[in-house]
Point group: C2
Chain length 209, copies 2
């Protein structure tokens, strides 16, 4: 897969008065280089509509577009891939449906899950939640920076640190060894979305150069 | 598709102390000839597990197995088809993903929806809710027997009447012209599941012979 460093995820609760396409486009203009559709309260049909529009946007900017959970929606819009949690369709089943070329990302909360995802052929893993977060409904206890360090030491596929990462704590995550960061509310919920994305992107750039 | 006349749907709330496979097998033994997996509160992974087991059961009895809503789960277990509501993935998208051979059923609540489903290539439609029901979470107002009669008059693909149908009111539905009946709680929630299925099956048999 095309490498990425700043992963953004939709979350309509963070921009109730704004259009998601505008918000995501600003994030991309600020440096977000992969986009995920994740909305837990929408119907399939609403998700499909969002997915079509986001896919078009992402194609225009040559940025991978990932659908959370719904492999069927990913197929319907020919998304670049899916992101699956530990309670979603297992990696093996999703791979069978999507074929070898689609990106499959897996949320992991401990090294055992990370290893299983790596061995199972995941294209990347999510590592977190690093810090406490209210973004996801069913909140998992934060795993802390220690888990980031473990992944750096033991896992070879790309990983993206996620969960409660803000401008004031992102340096710790980067120092722990993360080279890819996923941000939700601190970008899409920011007053200046593009500026927020740019701030994170430049932090990441410093450690990656 | 293989014709059917007595459609049963899972619903773990109706048999909290029983295993769903036992319940569905009893329903089949009583005369149910098509089975749908519909559970609104399960994770994808739980659904996948149920779908695998139900598919095996249905293969054993040569009864079609349908998955509600989740086209990806249907693909993963090679189910015979999917059943889609008006808020789920649209028929056209599901057909693209599933191909021409899989069964696609569509819930309809008015003639306009029924016609659209027929024109779009649905294999069957659900017609209801005929009577008030608490089976589905987001309850739609009952459409009554009048809608059943309209469908009989105007729609050519198979339809299955659904919603609040019990032994004491099934005759009205059959008299209105339905030849296929979907039963949830009155079968899977019955104390004698097989006996309940047999009672409905024999009612249907009388009108179909
Ligand atoms: Ni779903």
């Amino acid at each position: 897969m095309k490498d990425f460093s700043l992963y953004v995820i939709t979350g309509e609760q963070f921009y109730p008065e704004r259009n998601y396409l505008e918000v995501i486009e600003e994030a991309i203009n600020g440096g977000a280089d992969i986009v995920q559709l994740r909305e837990k309260k929408k119907t399939k049909r609403e998700l499909l509509d969002m997915a079509k529009h986001l896919k078009d946007l992402c194609v225009r900017y040559d940025v991978p577009f990932i659908v959370n959970d719904h492999v069927d929606i990913a197929l319907a819009v020919d998304a670049d891939g899916v992101h699956l949690g530990q309670d979603d369709l297992p990696l093996e089943e999703a791979r069978k449906i999507l074929g070898p070329d689609k990106i499959i990302g897996i949320s992991t909360h401990k090294l055992e899950e990370a290893k299983r995802a790596e061995e199972g052929g995941a294209d990347y893993i999510g590592v977190g939640p690093v810090f406490p977060t209210i973004t996801k409904e069913d909140v998992v206890d934060p795993v802390g920076l220690e888990y980031v360090r473990e992944v750096v030491a033991h896992i070879r596929i790309p990983f993206v640190a996620i969960g409660g990462i803000k401008l004031h704590n992102v340096d710790q995550v980067l120092e722990a060894g993360a080279e890819r960061i996923c941000i939700v509310s601190a970008i899409v919920g920011a007053e200046d979305v593009q500026g927020a994305a740019r701030a994170f992107a430049s932090k990441i750039k410093q450690v990656r150069k």
